[in-house]
């Protein structure tokens, strides 16, 4: 797959890594926020 990569492909690949990583960390922060603000007692009341 990578053998056919041109220099531009490699450049785009690295910048995409950056975008995906920032998206991942945003997702992680959202998940953490949901865990911390979620009130477990709410589940007991259905």
């Amino acid at each position: 797959m990578f053998r056919s990569f041109t220099q531009w492909h490699w450049v785009i690949f690295v910048w995409l890594q950056l975008l995906v990583a920032y998206g991942f960390y945003l997702w992680y922060l959202g998940r953490l926020e949901r865990q911390l603000t979620h009130n477990p007692t709410e589940d007991n009341h259905g």
Binding site: F2, V11, V14, W15, Q17, Y25, L26, W27, G30, E33
Partner: protein, 249 residues
Amino acid sequence: MPEFFEVLRMSISKHTQQPLWLKAFGLINLILLGIGAYLAFIVSPADKTQGELVRIMYAHVSVAWICFVAVIIGAVAGAIFLWNSSRLSDVVAVASAELGLFYATLTVLSGMTWGKPTWGAWWVWDAKLTTTALMCFLLVGYFIIRAMIDDPLRRGRISAVIGLIILANVPIIYFASEWWNTLHQPLSLQIGEKPRMDPIMVKILLYNVGVAALIYGYFMTVRIRLGRLGVRQEIRMQEPARKSEAIHV
């Protein structure tokens, strides 16, 4: 997979408890990152030896420098915790160490992707690469050890000491390409020395470093807010236990 996008949507939507200014700060960072990509892809000239691959430098070097900043701030916050045992400094230390791990991993991945077309290999046991990988493992160890300790004071102290040990690795990584014969490119910029690259490239690099620093600042702010929330919950959960202990005594 749908849950992944649901959580991602929540973290950038109105459902998040972030104040408006913080959301605006995040959005501004995204726009600045777009401008940084435009400068790297369109404005920057190609390099004499590296050709178009030089455009990777703007992404890779900026995250590598912010990784160092994150580790330094984490270690300083840890040292403050050793001095005054304030929970806030522990929260800052953890947030920065977490981002240190995030940026170190990104540095290694982007470096490997740069290495493949320039050196012909994804990985070489070069001094700079090996010490950066070592820092990643040390940061993983930092969080494993934290997860093993329940007492907040002991947890904060031990992780602060580990943070200081990780800090010692930063100058070794930074100067590895000067101290040893390595495949890695020499330092992109050095204080007090004339840059070895085109002035426009220096400006674009510094711009992208600035954007990466702002994104780090945004992530830190959100992570510290969540860390403080976690501490408040931890204290609230410990209170009934303490009260019941008092009754039994």
